[in-house]
């Protein structure tokens, strides 16, 4: 089974995140406010080399960048 979004470099994980985000946004006001923070991520990471940390990056931004590379490579 191939999915259209695969061609754009989107992973299954990202697909689920997008689908879940839209489900949360479709809720009634009260439920939506309680559910929406679940979609937010503040994770940052830094690659260490030679005992020194590299530039810290947002995981979400790095993943988006990866998606574009994958789409170009595929």
């Amino acid at each position: 089974m191939t999915f259209a979004w695969k061609a754009a470099g989107i992973t299954y994980n990202r697909y689920l995140a997008v689908a879940s985000r839209v489900v949360r946004r479709s809720l009634k006001e009260e439920k939506r406010l309680a559910a929406e923070p679940r979609g937010e991520s503040e994770v940052r990471f830094a690659k260490w080399s030679n005992g020194k940390p590299g530039e810290p990056k947002h995981l979400a931004e790095a993943n988006a960048q990866d998606t574009i590379t994958r789409a170009g490579g595929a």
């Binding site: 979004w5 470099g9 989107i10 689920l16 997008v18 839209v22 479709s26 809720l27 559910a35 574009i68």
Partner: protein, 165 residues
């Protein structure tokens, strides 16, 4: 004559002997027509090993109903409605954002999804507004990724709109 009487006695005895194994029925065999359902989200368990009669799932390979003693299987779920027919006969519907359903050989079933809400928690107005927005992005001149994501959103929203009617 004598041997005939013995044969007749044997005939009378046998039905009693056959009834004995039936009386020694264990608890597990007493409820063979139920599925033990676990419906879990990362932040909540909606069902926790609860006995239900039937579960209808929107699998990628097609809509399917699962009863007890179903073939063990793993199914990827489309964003859509899962319907659960409980022991009392009443049915509950949840909209799941996509995930997996796993049927184990012992009539237990696990459904994992990221988000799941009963249908009455959704706002038809919010769905309509988002469809308009996603359509704009999908047919716009954004990046390939933005368009692909808008199409995923449209798929979910259109399913939602169809079930909310």
């Amino acid at each position: 004559m004598n041997s005939l009487r013995i044969a007749r006695a044997a005939l009378r005895v046998r039905p009693v002997a056959m009834r004995i194994p039936v009386q020694r029925r264990g608890y597990a065999e007493a409820v063979p027509d139920k599925i033990k359902l676990s419906l879990s989200l990362p932040h909540q368990s909606i069902y926790k090993s609860q006995s239900v009669i039937q579960v209808n799932i929107p699998a990628v390979s097609g809509e399917m109903g699962v009863l007890a003693n179903h073939v063990p299987s793993i199914e990827q779920l489309k964003p859509g409605v899962v319907e659960i027919i409980e022991e009392s006969g009443s049915s509950k519907q949840y909209f799941l954002s996509g995930g997996f359903a796993i049927v184990q050989p012992d009539s237990s079933m696990s459904i994992n999804a990221v988000e799941g809400f009963p249908l009455e928690d959704f706002s038809a107005d919010a769905v309509r507004a988002q469809i308009a927005e996603a359509q704009k992005v999908a047919s716009g001149s954004g990046s390939e990724q933005d368009i692909a994501e808008a199409k995923i959103e449209l798929e979910v929203l259109e399913t939602l709109q169809a079930v909310l009617k």
